[in-house]
Symmetry: D3
């Protein structure tokens, strides 16, 4: 067990508006080995088909994350006491070269992964989850709990372009990085290009929970579906803020009305406690459209919620590792 646990700056001593805005006011860490969980930014939106701006997401999420404190008020998880957490900086990106960006992001995450560090990321558009998967899931596919208004399993755009923020999960499945049978999507809604839009998702076995099904099921039943789907295998959580209703998260590129409330989202994320979580992200926070900054606050809070359940999972993994290391699969 590590002996040094980085701690956020205390807002009752140093006001929240002071100092450099690292994630959660944690120390900036340059050596991935020094932390169990690395908070990462991916300032890139080159896969965006409509309104760009998510490239500015990490900065504003960091900025608003100064409002976070240290202990979860419901689960009592105190992540900074359980595991070592730090701000490991931004993945390198190229704002004018999609393929170069995918390669650079993948390389950054491969290094994080090799260091035994779990990434919790702030996007960027949703395409960034693909190179994250390439960096951390090449040795075995992961399952996924996917919050989104859109399935993001389209095939191509604008004449055969395979890489946009509407296609990452079809690519990830094709590449064997994502196990569709251990994937559940929550909050899907909005008009579609054609009645066949979700045929791929269904064909490969993704459990799609439309917004309307969620509204009918409620939080608890939905969580049962989630647990049934992802089971105890390694699982990634990807939270596109457009899963939320734009009243709660206006600053995003492809808003769809009729979405989740923040309270529902928080209940759902809290319900992931106990899963075998190997990474998470919050994507599609687009500050230029985030009048008032609430979406960045939502993004920062969801990162804290995710951090709590991932830290809890990590702490339990460590216990298992310390007791019987052979059983651990990440």
């Amino acid at each position: 067990m590590p002996t040094f646990f980085p701690q956020p700056i205390d807002a009752s001593l140093v006001p929240r508006f002071a100092g450099l805005p690292t994630f959660m006011r944690l120390p900036a860490v340059t050596n991935f080995e020094d932390v169990d969980i690395g908070l990462v930014g991916v300032p890139w939106d080159g896969g965006t088909t409509n309104r760009a701006g998510a490239r500015h997401g990490p900065r504003e999420i960091r900025n608003m994350s100064s409002l976070m404190r240290k202990v979860h008020h419901v689960s009592n998880i105190a992540p900074y006491d359980l595991v070592r957490v730090g701000d490991v900086g931004d993945a390198p990106v190229n704002p004018i070269d999609l393929l170069d960006s995918l390669a650079q992001i993948e390389g950054f995450y491969a290094k994080i992964h090799r260091a035994g560090c779990i990434p919790i990321s702030a996007g960027g558009d949703h395409l960034v989850t693909l190179p994250i998967f390439r960096g951390i899931a090449k040795h075995r596919p992961v399952g996924m709990v996917h919050f989104d208004a859109h399935s993001d399993t389209n095939d191509t755009y604008f004449g055969n372009n395979p890489y946009t923020h509407g296609t990452p999960f079809r690519r990830a499945i094709e590449e064997g990085l994502l196990d569709p049978k251990r994937t559940v999507q929550i909050g899907i809604r909005g008009s579609v290009y054609s009645a066949e839009d979700l045929d791929f998702a269904k064909a490969v076995g993704i459990r799609v929970i439309h917004m309307e099904e969620f509204a009918a099921l409620g939080v608890e039943a939905t969580l049962r579906e989630v647990r049934k789907t992802v089971s105890d295998g390694p699982t990634y959580v990807s939270f596109d803020v457009d899963a939320l209703d734009p009243a709660f998260a206006p600053g995003t590129g492809t808003p769809e009305i009729g979405g989740l409330t923040t309270l529902e989202a928080q209940h759902l994320v809290r319900g992931l406690q106990g899963l075998n979580l190997v990474g998470a992200d919050v994507v599609e926070v687009a500050p230029p459209f985030d009048v008032g900054g609430n979406t960045a606050l939502v993004g920062a809070t969801l990162m804290f919620e995710l951090l709590c359940v991932v830290a809890d999972a990590q702490a339990r993994q460590r216990t298992i590792r310390e007791e019987s290391p052979a059983e651990v699969e990440q």
Copy 2:
């Protein structure tokens, strides 16, 4: 059955931010006979008693409607395959002359109506529904499903002015355009001028469902009330965005907190499928107060929701007409 069905521009080929922002990216149509449903703008807010701005509604709703796609994800209604739909432009208006505007709008809708075209309109303030009724309902009164925070059945303002956005439905009832017994109002709330404010509505037989009654009934029971009230006669749907809570639709002139969520509104509109719908509107979207543009997105999405149920109704009418034309009443 028509042989040519206009289609929206496909956003997976031409990005959403490109091109002229017609409603739903449909072709602009100048001949009303060419379409079964005409999407119309009424850029006029001369009946507004407080914060004007709805005159800019049609432009911004058109702008945000580029985010809409082609098929409804719940009902699977594909409106552009069922009926011919087009953007038939804006009704002529006079920003400095109320009576002239009422006359011009009425004339425009009368032409649309004579062409056998069903109008789905974007206002404009709520007074525009009165000249729409004059244009399409002179031969028989219509019933109405009316979403609103306000009953809009006041008598006069500012010393005997009979025409404001607070009076259209009293006028419509007086003129025999609207059947109060086949009218239901949903979402009514907010402090009132006096305890007698709703006496007229009740006296003429309008079924008023206050926000609080809706919250108690829920969507399904409310829809049963709606169906019971409007039955199978010709029915118009008028959606004032202030029916929604201002968190969901801030860009409006007379916001009242404690309103509908967008998801509730969508469920209610979807539940109108099967009614004999002869027209619809979305009014009171006021872009100068719509910080972030979400209200225009809400307006565009509600227009699409309304389009789906009206197109479905039209398609069924066409089937009936083709089989037994004498029975059709519009």
Copy 3:
């Protein structure tokens, strides 16, 4: 019973955007004896630890209160017919001197109290409730229905500073102004500094209803808890707008996602009818962060909701007083 009841300007005669924006368009009153209930502003945010701005709250709440009308649409309470209500102006404050401000505010409220006038106040940050209590509760502690995301019972900040907007209720309890056993807090949530954050509140007997407990209980059961806690003793209502989700009230200094909706808040406030209410406030509306002005509208509407239940309580007190004055305790 008084013979003259001040009335708001009628918006169907004088448009809402005209004239000086007093609270509810009521007359400005300089003699506290002339009214039974005084609407007061406290334009001060010197206790704010993060984002200031609530000093501008009274002006913007007054501005948006022009949208209010005269009669409550659910309870039918017509406050201006029951009691004499007026805008009694702003408490004197000192933007650069915390202790001087506390003293001046206390003095202002002591005068209001001595005049037999009940204050309903618009803050200002939450520290202002402390000098209000000092002004009106020195002779006996009050109970409190407290809506907030935060318990505001911390001890000190920034090295032993006892007075911030995070500490008022610990001070009030220590000073014997607030009876913790007759205090209930609703909506508490968000990450905390440490697991011990609420130990004081629990130790002194405050009934803390976290947001999650409220969500599980629902409005009616929560109100039962409220009534059980405060019983029929003199009770103050303090509404921090951050009790609401920032989607509904973005303009505040310490937003926490996952909060109340306005409709829930309204139901809760309406449910206070029948309590022995001796004052109320709406605090932490911070216009510089209130993009679009919705939070000020929420603040104005909550003031009207509070006015209705307080006026009702006052009217009943008057009846009792007139019948058996000895029993009245304020």
Copy 4:
């Protein structure tokens, strides 16, 4: 000479954000006889042909006028020591009836005029200057110094409507209220409907100083033209904020780039000292388009600048009146 001079609230004692926002924090006055100069709001924009919103101008100008102090830093004019100034409230208006509004505004100004009070007004759109003239200039035409991007001497709009904010000065000339030969327009610019647009202005003898001529002449030479044109007859100053470049005054309905800077405008207004000024207004401040509130600040500051030169003129008139009353013409 009067013995009581109303004074603004002192911001070094009561902070600027406190209290009711009367113009310049002056007392609200209900008896026009009590003041020599009345600051008036005209919250009406019914003559607007494009973007409405100036109806909200008086409120926001009052709000920002709290930033004004008491003495002019260049001229050393201390208006509140020279004459009695007060906020005399808003003219009555009817937001849905143009002709009724013109009549009500005229009546209000006629009363002000009969009381011997000079009005300095905050609009409202530019059509409000017409009923002001009808109220104060029926007995003799006034000259005018007119700052504007537009000549506002068009004939009709939207099919023979004679009254819009593009027509007031043609009407005023036709009605004998405005002497075109004693009228100078400064800042005129922007594309025109046709090459004949200014033919009327030229035909009746208005001295039109286009923005480009002003840029070539500079402030001093322009002021010489002004003085030459209006001479020592009774002169009104009408300042449409769109005379300013929209960088300086974005919150207006018909912005034209390439306009005056505020410093130029201030120099020009200060240069009117010594003229025989009988009234002034600042119009077309449209808060819904005034992101950040700077235009309202500009409006408030220009009102103060105008107040200084008008107060100076009034004080000199009084001296003359006291010495040789027969010579005074207003």
Copy 5:
């Protein structure tokens, strides 16, 4: 000479907020042969190295161009009477593929050029000028009057990427599309990467007029430099809105303070009358950063200013062509 000249919708008949927002409210034209000057949008910002958003430029410039009228108030040029002008739509683009976009834009402009139509374009980021040049200047290099804060003659970014909005003119010179000796840059300023940043520009002979030199020279002397540099050869005008100070044009991706005023810019553009103009563009209007919309208004007005001088040039070319066609070089 053509017999039909398209005309904008008249705002004194149809209000500016009505109807589809084509450029200048001109007819949408699909056949390039039908117009002498085509107003084009290029909704693409894939070359942006920092803050994207110019992809939304064409829509908002079209929207604000409804404020334009028909005749220039200084030059009296009436462009719609001189030549046939229309809105020819948007160039096809691919938001996620830079090279594909360059190819598609080039193809669109090549078609425009072959039709004998002169394009005046609204970007898009500044890289779009490169494919425009490829479309219209392959047969002979053009000279350029270039307004910008940046020289845009860098070599590569992000590791050898040759195409960004900081490199178009180095590429254009290398490709023989732009004659550097006939190129003048006005408004260049702001901190630079290194003292060598402008070495290329100087080496190839571009006449660089830094903001400071412009301030010293003034408009007229600058225009003499312009005319001396570009002489009477075919000349393109490229106006990056960041040439303007961000007070005048905040909505752009790389603002630099200390820039041109709009009035200076207008004077400079007007001074281009008489040059042999073969195309023009206004680029880098980025609506997501354009709080209040003023930058789009600036963009629309500059397009009108450019239209006037280009139309004048075209009309004179036509006269020459009709008299002695052999001499015409475009």
Copy 6:
């Protein structure tokens, strides 16, 4: 001469929106001895009498400073090659205790000063310059070039409070920290509390250049006055952004129209090259009022401009020190 010079991150390699926003993207430095010039934030606005928000200034100025590059385009000063510059973090502050803040800030600057490091600071409100002076000027008074709309030499506010952002320079003179005879104020303007407002400034010998005098003198003559006043003694530069017109710097608490343009300000700051500069600050950037972020950009650019002239002064001091150390006075 130092051997290691910290350099900003290169925006042509790492995009500007990536990474932690230190000032100018320089390394964060914790040891003051490691740099010759320290860029410092003072996130505190407890001296603000009206609109607070400058506490958020350092964060937003840091954020926008990512737009700065390395070499000055006019002076060719390359500050990072001349001296060692770093981001030394924020001074400790206490948002609810004025005197504690003054003490903590003073202590922080005293340490910086003892380390031989020159501070260039981002405020915070203007009161912060007082503790800066206490930290760096106790051993000898400094002269000052002071850009501001206000003289900030008032005596007391709100009843004998000696410390507000309107009083720092009277206090500094009284304490012998500031030499009034070597102090020049530029840009002073706006209405004043009384005609005696500037009596103190004049009495102690401050050279006050009102905005109007600046406009008459022009940049060069003003700079001659500056040099004459401050001569070659140690001189501090304090730039309150409200010296600028609010069109250029809207995000500030006490805006006054009719101010400097950014280009004028830049010319003035550049003209300070050659003075004996011992520190500088940019204050009163208030992000909550900075719609669009332009004021923060202005603040960042002015810091870069100041850095260039201070670095140049430092480099020259070093040369002198290395040649004849006895002569140096700081």
